[in-house]
């Protein structure tokens, strides 16, 4: 029971990192990325390739420490996002969505077909779990600690970013792009930064996932589990709100795991249909949220403009000069 709880929390933590990454893109800057799963996969594979022990099955076998893997994941996801962003971010929002779906499709084909790189559909095995054997038998507990630490750092960074002049410009772009442009901000630059940063966070989540499950294959990055559910988490929790993002990850992962308990009780001839039934449930949940409470459980609450709030908070005045522009 305890180990189930740890397992559950690690996955909630990994999804929490993913949702925070998506929130940077959609919640802050209004950029629609349907390729979450692609950046997640790129991070997972990048970290796996540099950290696995010697093998002839696929590229890699460098046996490097996990943190090198994490940095590789950040770099790989970030550079792909940079290229996509350069092409699509000056166009209207739907095009980014369509372009990210293309990238997701191409990356999933690469994962399946480039055996020398990814070992194809057989996947990559023996991905090392950090801290193995430090405290005998407590690997997963230590790993939970690492996941929570990274989640906390990403959360803290996102919160800081939200309140910073940088975050304010992103929100301004989201709400009124022409006005922001008129105010002399380089809209494209800010968008690109948020898109790359968000994708890097998704890549990091991918690395966390790979080192947790120790085995990855293209199957694990299907859009249903790696993109769709992340979107539902963000919408349900409240886009633009980091605490909402984390709450969404917890609640939706709870519903998703709970639905498994439910479908396990179905008669035997239904068990093959349990998977789609659960996805159907999440899909309907998304529609209900969009129709009834589109701001999510915790709606966004932007900080008050500094001018009206500055009476009692002198030190805040220094933030008023906007170094970001």
């Amino acid at each position: 029971m305890l180990s189930y709880g740890i397992f559950f929390l690690i996955l909630v933590g990994i999804y929490g990192v993913l949702v925070l990454g998506l929130n940077l893109q959609w919640g802050y800057a209004g950029m629609f990325n349907i390729g979450v799963g692609a950046f997640f996969a790129v991070g997972a594979y990048a970290s796996a390739i540099v950290t696995t022990p010697l093998t002839s099955d696929h590229l890699g076998g460098f046996g490097l420490p996990f943190w090198v893997g994490f940095l590789t994941a950040l770099a790989a996801a970030g550079s792909i996002a940079f290229l996509i962003g350069l092409i699509t971010l000056k166009l209207r929002s739907d095009y980014l969505a369509i372009a990210t779906i293309g990238i997701a499709e191409i990356i999933s084909q690469i994962l399946k077909n480039e055996g020398w790189l990814t070992n194809g559909v057989r996947g990559i095995t023996r991905i090392p779990r950090p801290f193995r054997g430090w405290i005998p038998g407590q690997d997963t507990l230590l790993y939970l600690g690492l996941v929570l630490l990274i989640l906390l750092v990403v959360y803290w960074g996102s919160e800081r970013a939200y309140r910073s002049p940088w975050g304010r410009v992103l929100r301004a772009i989201r709400e009124d792009e022409p006005a922001t442009l008129a105010a002399g901000k380089s809209v494209l630059k800010f968008r690109l930064q948020a898109f790359v940063l968000g994708s890097m966070v998704m890549g990091l989540a991918g690395a966390l996932y790979a080192h947790f499950v120790n085995f990855i294959s293209p199957e694990a990055f299907q859009p249903e589990f790696a993109t769709f559910i992340v979107w539902v988490m963000l919408i349900a929790g409240g886009s633009g709100n980091n605490r909402g993002s984390l709450l969404g990850a917890l609640v939706i992962w709870g519903v998703w795991s709970g639905s498994e308990l439910l479908t396990n009780r179905l008669p035997a001839q239904w068990t093959t249909r349990a998977g789609p039934l659960r996805i159907l449930l999440i899909g309907i949940l998304l529609q209900v949220i969009l129709l009834t409470r589109s701001q999510g459980l915790l709606p966004e609450r932007p900080p008050k403009p500094i001018l009206s709030a500055s009476m009692g908070q002198r030190q805040d005045l220094s933030h008023n000069q906007d170094p970001a522009g």
């Binding site: 209004g30 629609f32 349907i34 092409i87 699509t88 166009l91 209207r92 929002s93 739907d94 095009y95 969505a97 369509i98 372009a99 779906i101 293309g102 990238i103 499709e105 191409i106 084909q109 399946k112 077909n113 249903e224 769709f228 979107w231 539902v232 919408i235 093959t272 249909r273 998977g275 789609p276 039934l277 996805i279 159907l280 999440i282 899909g283 309907i284 998304l286 529609q287 969009l290 129709l291 589109s294």
Partner: protein, 285 residues
């Protein structure tokens, strides 16, 4: 030379399927102003409705009619249940919702018809042979069927009041609204036209290959690429776009692995976005 011609012919077959899908996406994009991510799965649903009638022993051509009606009914019900209530929201909210609808449709197909590959007809079709070319009779049916549907669409758009209103709305939504066009009823017509063509495209794809719950989802990228290539809100552009993407994908197999056909559609899409974002036929940017 023969192999080039062979690829060209198959490219046109595939392009016809893309074109039928792209017309629906282009019309809904132009009139409802959102990228409908559920369109591919509407094609899947249409193909499976067709399967149900084919397995009753009906010929495929006859099955198309009730299957198309069932698909229209589903599209209209989805619109009335979900999209209608979201029309005041930003288009991107509709886009998210359509992403959810796509998943709902796909899981329903899996629940009702099962997750495995299925076929309309298990018997082998002998190809016709001309000058070293191999042509499947099904391809002729697909090309002819597409041509018929496109001609019917042309007359609908040019000759009927509804068709003209539809073109006006795709051209300039606000102007169409102030001239007194009943936008809600035109929206329903748009879904109906899109769904009929989606069902036909799904059934054609099922005839050419086989049926699978993700068959339509996989077509989404080439269909969007065709829509943008032709110009959003331009049904004739969508036809041209579909054929270009289909032929380009097939010809690309001469130089790259067929697994990366998707990348060709993506590359054309990206090039188009950089060079001419309004599309060949000057739709909306």
């Amino acid at each position: 030379m023969t192999s080039l011609l062979q690829l060209l012919i198959y490219g046109l077959v595939l392009g016809s399927i893309y074109a039928l899908g792209a017309i629906g996406v282009s019309l809904t994009f132009g009139i409802l102003r959102f990228a409908n991510f559920a369109h591919g799965d509407l094609m899947t649903l249409g193909a499976y409705f067709g399967l149900s009638f084919v397995s009753l022993g009906w010929p495929i051509g006859v099955s198309l009619i009730p299957a198309a009606l069932a698909t229209v009914l589903c599209a209209v019900v989805i619109d009335q249940l979900i999209y209608r209530r979201l029309r005041r929201e930003a288009p991107v909210i509709l886009l998210i919702s359509s992403f959810g609808t796509a998943l709902i449709l796909r899981s329903l197909v899996q629940i009702i018809w099962g997750p495995n590959n299925q076929v309309y007809r298990s018997s082998l079709q002998l190809p016709w042979r001309f000058w070293g070319l191999r042509l499947k009779p099904d391809w002729a049916v697909i090309l002819l069927g597409t041509a018929l549907l496109v001609v019917a669409l042309h007359f609908f758009l040019q000759r009927t009041r509804v068709g003209k209103a539809m073109r006006a709305m795709a051209d300039n939504f606000d102007l169409a609204k102030v001239t007194g066009i009943d936008t809600e009823s035109i929206i329903l017509w748009t879904w109906a036209i899109g769904a009929i063509l989606a069902c036909a495209a799904g059934m054609f794809l099922g005839m050419d290959t086989r049926l699978h719950p993700t068959m339509g989802w996989r077509l989404l990228l080439p269909i969007f690429a065709a829509t943008i290539l032709g110009g959003i809100g331009r049904p004739y552009g969508a036809i041209a776009g579909g054929l270009v993407i289909g032929v380009a994908e097939e010809l690309s197999t001469l130089v790259i692995s067929p697994a990366y056909k998707t990348a060709v559609a993506f590359a054309i899409l990206v090039l188009m976005l950089i060079i001419r974002p309004t599309g060949l036929f000057g739709g909306r940017a």
